[in-house]
């Protein structure tokens, strides 16, 4: 029993290290590779190196590295809170895991119905990935969600899911759904179908990016203000960043914490609504019952 306890603790420590070490490594990488800042600097993700490829060079950017960090940290977190599950639930972390799963389960059932009850893992991973990616800016790292390529990838994934569930009732019913109210509206329906992933990607990325841009602009403006007021003083007194202390943190609570979590929630919510809303439930049931009756006739 005692030996098992020791092993349990060692695995625990390893998992905690798995959650913290990638973030520290990311900060170290950021500090080592960041070019010296001067004035207002709003740039995209920095490119670490490029891998030559036959068609187009494949750049490894900051956002890819940071999203890998997020994935490793999330994997460590999931392994940590599910480590040592038991029927008695004698560990506190088991309650946390059960709480998260139950909450998202009820959210999915409420918004998508019973047919999509198996969607919980997908929704939970989108929520966690998106929220932690946005919260990464609290550590001073580049948040991967402020890169259109990352969020665009998720949006394409959601688009594939929507189309897959729309095709469940057969390709003919799928084609027919484009001419829904009147046949005249077909081009507009096709445009709105394509606009779904575009608007989802732009919404998430624009929100996070605008927060980052406003933070940088405000930080620079406050620096200018404090140097304007204190600049005439002699010696080191002129370099005191009077207004840069504390005021950006208040805005960071809104732009980083609140907005990041809200956008994650909205992205997951929209995924659920689009997938469940595009699914033709009645036609699918009709098709299924027809198939069942056919099989019965053959038998």
């Amino acid at each position: 029993m005692k030996e098992k306890d020791l092993r349990f603790k060692i695995v625990d420590i390893l998992l905690v290290l798995m959650m913290t070490v990638p973030i520290i490594l990311g900060i170290v990488l950021q500090v080592m590779t960041e070019p010296p800042a001067s004035g207002v600097q709003i740039t995209g993700a920095r490119i670490f190196f490029t891998i030559p490829m036959p068609l187009q060079d494949f750049p490894v950017t900051e956002s890819q590295v940071n999203s890998l960090i997020v994935m490793i940290v999330l994997l460590g977190f999931c392994l940590y809170i599910t480590h040592g599950l038991s029927e008695k639930a004698d560990l506190k972390r088991q309650h946390l895991a059960e709480f998260i799963v139950e909450k998202v389960d009820s959210l999915v059932k409420e918004n998508m119905g019973d047919f999509f009850a198996s969607f919980t893992p997908f929704i939970i991973s989108i929520l966690a990935l998106s929220a932690l990616s946005s919260l990464l800016s609290l550590f001073g790292l580049y948040p991967p969600t402020s890169d259109i390529n990352i969020v665009g990838g998720w949006a394409v994934l959601v688009f594939v899911l929507i189309t897959y569930y729309k095709l469940k009732a057969g390709p003919l019913a799928y084609m027919k759904s484009f001419t829904q109210p009147v046949a005249l509206l077909t081009p507009i329906n096709i445009i709105s179908e394509v606009a779904t992933p575009v608007s989802m990607a732009f919404r998430h990325y624009g929100n996070v990016l605008s927060g980052a841009v406003i933070s940088v602009l405000l930080g620079t403006a406050l620096g200018g203000l404090s140097s304007m007021i204190l600049g005439k003083l002699p010696g080191f007194l002129a370099d005191i960043p009077l207004f840069q202390v504390g005021i950006p943190a208040v805005l960071s609570i809104y732009f980083d914490v609140f907005s990041g979590c809200l956008q994650a929630f909205i992205f997951a919510m929209l995924t659920m609504m689009y997938v469940a809303g595009g699914f033709p439930e009645e036609e699918y049931k009709k098709k299924k019952s027809q198939k069942a009756s056919k099989i019965k006739k053959i038998n």
Binding site: I42, G206, L209, S210, V213, L262, I266
Partner: protein, 95 residues
């Protein structure tokens, strides 16, 4: 040459500023949504949770047009000048 680059930079900045006029629409729309949500909560305080969730969803969707404008403005501010100046330099040197 300098004049041409100056015109490009100035027009990009002007375009970004004009694009952000689109921020008016989402502002009014979200204000209306929040006002109605406040009324609904005042009338039926027990439905606060679902009203808040629906309002946040609606706000997020109303925000989309503003974010399109923001993306265009950011492209005009940080991406377009470099590309346009590159094109200018290339065409002038090829003449």
């Amino acid at each position: 040459m300098e004049l041409a680059i100056g015109i490009i930079l100035g027009c990009c900045a002007l375009g970004a500023g004009l694009a952000m006029i689109a921020g008016i629409g989402p502002g009014i729309g979200e204000g209306n949504a929040v006002a109605k949500a406040c009324e609904a909560i005042a009338r039926q305080p027990e439905s606060k949770g679902s009203v808040t969730t629906t309002m946040l969803m609606g706000c997020a969707i109303a925000e989309t047009t503003g974010l399109y404008a923001l993306v265009i403005a950011i492209l005009l501010m940080f991406v377009a000048p470099n590309i346009l100046v590159d094109i200018l330099v290339k065409t002038i040197s090829s003449l």
